[in-house]
Structure formats: structure tokens, C-alpha cells
Amino acid sequence: MKSKIRFSSIVGFIVLLLLILPLAMVVVTSFGTEATISFPIKGFTFEWYHNLFQQPDFVDGMKMSFIVAIIASCLALLVGIPAVYALTRFQIHRRNWFQNIFLSPALIPEIVIGFALYQTLVISFGLPLFISLLIGHFLLCLPYVIRLLTAGMLDLDKSIEEAAWMVGYNKVITFFKIVIPNIKQSIMAAFILSFINSFNNIPITLFMNGPSLNMLPTSILNYLENNYDPTVSAVSVILMIITAALMMIAEKYLGLNKLV
């Protein structure tokens, strides 16, 4: 017993270090004075953060990624909430089938989704890049919404809706006054997870960005192909701060276990 715990705690400790140290190094290098990334750093400067905000690709990309992530997450919630309500509350023949169709975007490799959407939506249908990109990110977010909300709905006692009908509320009002307030946390968690995944996505975004449509992750990828300076570290730090902020919100209002 003792030895097993000791062994697993040693491995566990090393694994945790391996998980943190690389990210910690990125943080440190973002303050380095040399023109190429080096560790340990020789001097301390904020120059790279300054430089970061001079890069239109990064600034515009950040804005665009934010907008796309927010719209895509909201769309996924808009489509996902009624679907989950129907899947968990109505008698549906072959419920599993429908559930799987709604989860299907998570079963097809993201890069394949990106490629297929580009061919059909952009090339054949001639949809604007921005709309196609939104559709891709909406599909990416949908499975998260379906999964988290299904769990939330299954936790909710079905009779509280019936109790509201009994005292005189019709089904629509009951849905908004009774169901929505009680799955608020699941909705929040689904939004946060959708947002993060959309904001960080590369494989789908890859096919549908362009000179007029910069997205942050692909901009960093492009920048890295030609440059190797601490600006990348600086932008990485910004991304980590965003992640940390969202995690703090999740922890404060939902508890982190809602996210996994």
C-alpha cells in the first residue's frame, strides 16, 4: 500500500512538473531581451508585448477569434437547447440515433470537417468566408452543448415542470421560468467550453481564413513559420491569461468539475 502510493506520488509529481514547466518557460521567455527566443533569459523587457500590439495579424485575429467564438457558441446553444429538451423530455423513437447525429461533428476529424466545408460551402455554394467559418465553428461547438446540457437536463426532476403546469403555466412559460433557471449552470459551462474550443481551434479555421479574415491561432502559426522571436511567447502568455480567466469564472460560479 505505502509503496504503491509512494511510487504513484513520485510519478504524479514529475508528471505535474512536466505539465507546468514548458508553459512556465514560455512565460519567462516572453520577457527575454534577445532577438531570438532563449532560455534562460539574459535581461528583462516588455518590448515583445509592445511589439505584439503592433502586429495587425495578432490584433485583428484576436478580435475576429473573439467574435467568431461568441457567435458560434451562442448559435450552438440556440440550436442545442431545444434539441436537448426534446431528446430528454419527449418520447422519441430511436432517441440514440438522434443523439448520435447531434454528436456527429465530434466523431469526424476536425481537419476533414474543415476541408469538406471549404469545398462545399466556400467553393460550390460561394458562401462568404466569414459565414463558412462561423458554420464550421458552430458545428465544433454543438457536441459540447449537447453533452453538457443533456447531463444537466437528466439531473433535473421532470415533475417540477409538471408542477408548474398544474398551477396554471403553459409549457412555453414553464420552459422559460422553470427549466432555463435550473439548467443555467450547464448553459454557462457549455458556453465556456464552446468558447474556448472555438477560440483555440486550428484544423477547421485553417481552411477558411484568409488575408481578409485573420484568426488568432492560425496567425500565430503563420508567424512562427517565418519568425522565432519572443513575440510568440508574449501572445502565448495573453492566451494563457484568457484561459486562466475563463477557468476562474468557471470555478467561481460552477465548480471546475462542470467543465470535464
Binding site: S159, E162, A163, W165, V167, G168
Partner: protein, 334 residues
Amino acid sequence: MAQIKINNLSHSYQKNKQILKDLSLDIHDGELLSILGPSGCGKTTMLRLISGLLPMQEGSIIVAGGDISKVPVYKRNFGMVFQSYALFPHMTIFQNVAFGLKRKKLSKSEIFEKTLSILKTTGLLDLKDRMPNELSGGQQQRVSLARALAINPDVLLLDEPLSNLDAKLRIEMREEISRLQKKMKMTTIFVTHDQEECFAISDRVAVMNHGKIEQLDTPQNIFRHPKTKFVAAFVGYENFVPKQWAKEHNWRYNDIISGSQLTIRPEKIELGSNENILNGKVLVKNFLGNNYQYIVETELGRMKVDTQQENYEINDDIGLSFSEKSLIELEDGD
């Protein structure tokens, strides 16, 4: 206040599997009628049909002279108390109770007054600002009752409201329900599988089996004169005697009732008297607190006997006797 007529109600969830079979039942204005039956016999199904939570398939329900079969659940103005209490988790006790009143065309102060008054009647005034998860099971059930009563419903429906409570609270709550029902003179349907709790508070009892009402009568009559073997067994008659056997012993049964069985309660049988009617051998002896229960093997099968006598042991040969009057005639069920 309302009288309810249920006519020829049938229901099935799947094809070829009827849960309710052509069920008819009249409930008088202001009475508390219990539906008593074993789990799975269709009590909840019936209550949900009456409430409108389940769409009707066959039959009709008339309330106060009007057919409500097609009236949607939220327009029926019925109160319902759920087994799981079903309180709204995101509202205080006050808000839970006031929720239904907000649908009515009432002023803010009227809603406030009415809610306070119902909270007072149900003894919940001190808890009005708590959230549901801060209450005990018994308190939650009280809130559930208060919420149902607040809208001044025409009919109150209770689906095994006491089954999640411990024994002591159960007695307390059933008396509370009975008190409020009498005070408000509300037509009430109380569903349960517990014979004792049902007899204690009901004006009349409908014993239900396999989607049919086997007997509808006052608790006293059901207890004294069960009509079928199922009802008899459900209200504590343990011993069954073929009518043929009684006739052979020159008893008076002349087929007034068409059935073939007689029944007798365990406490109506005496052990070891002089005029033995049956001989048997003691198989089991149990101490039940107030009395002993013997299980005796006889030519009529195993008979259960409840008695104060304690001087018999397992394997003793003993005689059983009972009076003609204690035997009750039963109809044959189907």
C-alpha cells in the same frame, strides 16, 4: 368544489398492453377518496389522466358537469402533490407557494396576503424565506401541499405523498392532509399502496387491481366485507376456505353469493378449544408483540392464527375452531 365522474377510462402505453381497463368511478363533492392498490396496478396512470398530464385515449372525465377531457393541464385548476415533492429549486418557499397565484388576475397585495395565509394554515410561516434544499422531507412535503392548495383548486390530487417520509412523519402528515381537506372541503383523490394510511383518512376507498376497481366503499365496509379474494388479502384476510368444505360441514351457505371461497381473519381463529373444527400441526410460531402468530398445517392448507395463547410449540398437534359468523363470503374474481 366539484363532483367528478370518470366514465369508461382505458389506457395503454404500448399496443396490446392495457393498463387501465374500462374504468368508471364517481367521486362526490368534497369527499376524500383513496385509490388503494399494489404497485404497478395503474394508480399513477389514472391520476395523471385525471390531472391532464397524460393525454386521454378512451373514456371521459366530467368535473362539475363539464367534460374536461380536452382541457389542457394548465387550464384545469387542479392541485397536485408529487411523490418527489417537485419543489422549484430556484425559488424560496414563499415564491414556490405564490407561483401559481401569479397566474391569476390578482393584485400584488392580494397574492401576498393569500400566500401568507396559506403558509400560516400549513404551518410554514417561519420557513418562508428558505430555499427548498434547506428543508427536511416532511417540510418539503408541506410546501408541496401548500403550493397545490394556494390556487384554490377544484380537485386535489395526491400521488403517494407520504411514501418518502419516515413512519412518524407519515402519521403526522396524513393527519395534516385530512385536517386541511376537511377544512377546505376539497374534493380529493389520494393514491396509496398503504392500507392503514388509507383507511385512517378516507371517506371512501377504491381498491384497484390490474387497472380495474375491485371494490368501492367506506373503509369500514371494505374491512368487514371484502368482496373479492384480492381485496380480502389486501386488507389482511390471510385464510381462505372453500365453500364446498363449509357445505359439507352443514353450514348455512346457500350460494347467496356466487363465489366459491370464504375467508377469515387470523385473529378470528381459536386454538385448542373443545369443539374443534379442523385439526392441524404447528409449523411456525412467531412473536409479534401484541400477540403470537401460528402457522398451522391443516387439511385446508396452511392457516394463520393470531392469538394471545403462548403455550403451543412447533410440531404440536392442535385443534382450530371458529364461528360460522366470522367466515365471509367472497365473489370470484377474474
